[in-house]
């Protein structure tokens, strides 16, 4: 289950954005971006970004990202 913010952020990072450029794109502070990534890593029980990528890649990024929490409510 991913929030719309997590989804947007992962899409940008997957497209090669740095934290800083993703933060600018999303109108978030760099701190919020690193917090968001950290909370994703905690939830997927991984310790670094390489593992985060692996976990999402194995799930299939599209599949992993479909169904944000907003969708789930509707």
């Amino acid at each position: 289950m991913f929030t719309p913010r997590e989804k947007a952020l992962v899409e940008l990072l997957a497209a090669g954005h740095t934290d800083a450029s993703a933060a600018r794109r999303l109108g978030l502070s760099p701190r919020t971006v690193s917090y968001t990534v950290q909370s994703l890593m905690d939830r997927l029980e991984v310790e670094n970004r390489f593992q985060l990528g692996l976990a999402l890649g194995m799930l299939g990024l599209d599949k992993a990202m479909e169904g944000t929490t907003e969708d789930a409510i509707g």
Partner: protein
């Protein structure tokens, strides 16, 4: 006076609308006082009514649109909103847009007919495919898990492609990954992948459209539509799904072969080891680890480790035993029902 609340209109807006419709046109300030609403809530309610076409101001005086018209508008809006999330509602909406719907069996003028049962549907689809002159489009919302079904579908498409018929399909991303999509693409069929599709639909030469009679029960058969306007609406449904689908040629996952040393390194990093620990384990310098990772990133055309993880994760099936077993299943932190529902 019908309640608008059941069609998704807020209670405030409903109240203001009733007041306007019952007591006649008034200024916003007067409405607020009469209904005991704050100015801002009144303003919000009026904004909402304006947005749904239920009220409009003229020289600061607000008037209500006729109730019957408003109810029809909010009802249609509600159905559209539901259609966005509910496949059955989407199906009904597609039929309604095409002007068929429940009228199908009683509107011969629309050139609609019912194909009763799976066999009749299959025979008709085969006949239409045989007769197809230039185009065969389909939306396939059913997941293709069975290799047999895939092979059968591929065989059916080959004669079409051989005759120069353009075959295009929008379907769910294939469950068995590259093999299936590659077979499809190799056969010359164009495909787009989407994770949610409104209905099964087949369009032949933009003259015949076939869609299920009941979106939840294929055994009931299908509806064939030959009315040009209705077919055009259905073709626009296809075009919309096509336009928003993922192009497998662009998102294609190219195969990768790792050297023994790369495999060892990835295995360590996948287990959560740092570069330093991995270097010690492999008896190489940390700089060599960095170089190996950099070379791998270059080969995969990615710029950071997150992307490297994504790229390798997407190829997990080609790299057996490389990734830790708990990750191999891709289960970490994702509740079972979420995975199942995808």
């Amino acid at each position: 006076m019908p309640s608008l609340v059941r069609w998704g209109v807020s209670a405030d807006a409903d109240l203001v609308y009733r007041a306007l419709a019952s007591f006649g046109a008034r200024e916003a300030g007067v409405i607020a006082v009469e209904l005991g609403l704050s100015a801002s809530r009144t303003r919000q309610a009026l904004d909402e009514l304006t947005a749904i076409g239920a009220a409009a101001p003229r020289a600061a005086v607000w008037r209500a649109a006729p109730p019957a018209q408003v109810v029809e508008q909010v009802r249609a809006r509600r159905i559209r909103a539901q259609a966005a999330v509910d496949p059955v509602a989407r199906y009904v909406q597609v039929l309604r847009d095409a002007g068929i719907g429940e009228a199908a069996s009683v509107r011969p003028d629309l050139r609609v007919r019912i194909l009763g049962g799976v066999d009749a549907t299959r025979r008709r689809l085969a006949a239409l495919a045989d007769a197809a002159a230039h185009e065969h489009l389909s939306i396939q919302p059913e997941s293709v898990h069975s290799g047999v079904a895939t092979a059968a579908a591929a065989h059916a498409d080959v004669p079409l492609l051989d005759r120069g018929v353009r075959v295009a399909t929008v379907c769910l991303p294939p469950a068995d990954g590259d093999a299936y999509s590659q077979r499809m693409l190799d056969s010359g069929m164009a495909a787009r992948f989407a994770s949610s599709l409104p209905l099964k639909l087949i369009l032949v030469d933009r003259r015949h459209a076939i869609l299920p009679l009941d979106p939840l029960d294929r055994s009931k058969g299908a509806i064939e539509v030959a009315d040009p306007a209705a077919v055009e609406v259905l073709a626009s449904v296809f075009r919309r799904e096509w336009a928003t689908g993922r192009d497998p040629e662009r998102g294609a996952v190219a195969p990768i072969v790792l050297s023994g040393r790369e495999e060892d390194l990835i295995r360590l990093l996948a287990a959560g080891q740092t570069d330093e620990v991995a270097a010690r384990r492999l008896k190489v310098s940390p700089r060599t680890v960095t170089t190996l990772v950099r070379a791998l990133m270059d080969r995969l055309g990615v710029e950071n480790r997150f992307q490297l993880g994504l790229a390798l994760g997407a190829r997990a099936t080609e790299l057996p035993g490389l990734l830790p077993p708990d990750r191999q299943r891709g289960t970490a932190g994702i509740p079972a029902q979420r995975r199942g529902s995808a």
